[in-house]
Symmetry: C2
Subunit: 241 residues, 2 copies
Amino acid sequence: MAIVRQTLIYDGPGGPFEGVIAWEDEVETPRPGVLVCPNILGQKESDNKKAEDLAKLGYVALACDVYGQGKRKTRGSENVAEYMNMLDADRTLLRDRLAASLEALRGFAAVEPAKVGAIGFCFGGKCVLDMARSGLPILGGVSFHGVYDRPDYANVSPITAKLLVCHGWEDPLATPDQMVALGRELTEAQADWQIHAYGNAGHAFTDTALIQPAAPGVAYEPRADRRSWKAMSDFLAELFL
Amino acid sequence: MAIVRQTLIYDGPGGPFEGVIAWEDEVETPRPGVLVCPNILGQKESDNKKAEDLAKLGYVALACDVYGQGKRKTRGSENVAEYMNMLDADRTLLRDRLAASLEALRGFAAVEPAKVGAIGFCFGGKCVLDMARSGLPILGGVSFHGVYDRPDYANVSPITAKLLVCHGWEDPLATPDQMVALGRELTEAQADWQIHAYGNAGHAFTDTALIQPAAPGVAYEPRADRRSWKAMSDFLAELFL
């Protein structure tokens, strides 16, 4: 088995965008695609690694870019939330950039375009929820320590994308009350949804760059990381059956 | 592979008790044991089937009895909650009967006594939580559409049993607020816990006898049934590693 990756530059509103796509090279038939939505920092190597991990599960995965080519942050950057805040302030633009990223994935030769899903981390979890809320053509999505505030446009109804929400109980950006509100929102939108809440885990529980906590309730947590990845694997297997 | 089952009669306060134990007969070494805690109706064939399903996963499983030999109900019984209510009114007695059931399992020759867990349905989910709360020697437990009210004795602290709580969002016996309270309780007790909430599922979502709903929010739900069983399988595999 050989996992390969390739830089993918694609167009969209505010583009060009630059992502990295990974797949198993020895398979010759099209297979399901998964969009990987980055956290606050934007497209980076840890997202590419997640794309490779998805490729090992048999999918074609695109670690996408919604900020624009070259627009990247690190934990030490000044104004680390700059690009995220711009999209948080314009959820319609975020939606349209997600749509462009999804089309880049669906148009890739190795991808079966009718079988596409998405996963995302932190702000990327919100991206996954927004893809479902806005009716973009994903069969399902997984949010890891996502943020749950609703966009200013109305949800499609019903939401047809199946959703798995992996939630850290101690997450200061997504409290238990906000988690319950999300459950109510998704129920109202008639979605097929699950929320997995992990005790003792906070925001960013999948982020191995945060073995030293970045702030109270913001840290890597190995059990929640391992369990949520397994839950995602089971979920995608069911989704693409 | 041959799954065998055997009636097991054992002692305890208010006993004798009569359960059914199932295991894979061709394995010769001791293996992990799982106690199966029945719902409101008490020990019955559907619990024995769950024990067989656990035996297929490689465990020895005892579908236990906490009401006492011959004390059984069906959905059509008068005073269907009679035996359950007696134990709900005496959680210390319930704990002691669970301890007796656990000892019956741990004493069975094919069981590795240091590797024991528990699962339970409805009232049986409460039984699993009470085993953890009272410090009975289980490594972990899974509650399916359990009920979350606390016993009148104090939790051990920390709770050492790992817990997976499979929760139907529409369950009238366990509301989202009660689910959140359980998360707080288990966090306070320093337990390693997960809650999986399933949208569109109510109480009794695993119960194939309730394909016709028994009451609003009380019905079989195939997706939550399938997903929670898979989550349990993953959980037990991690528990007994």
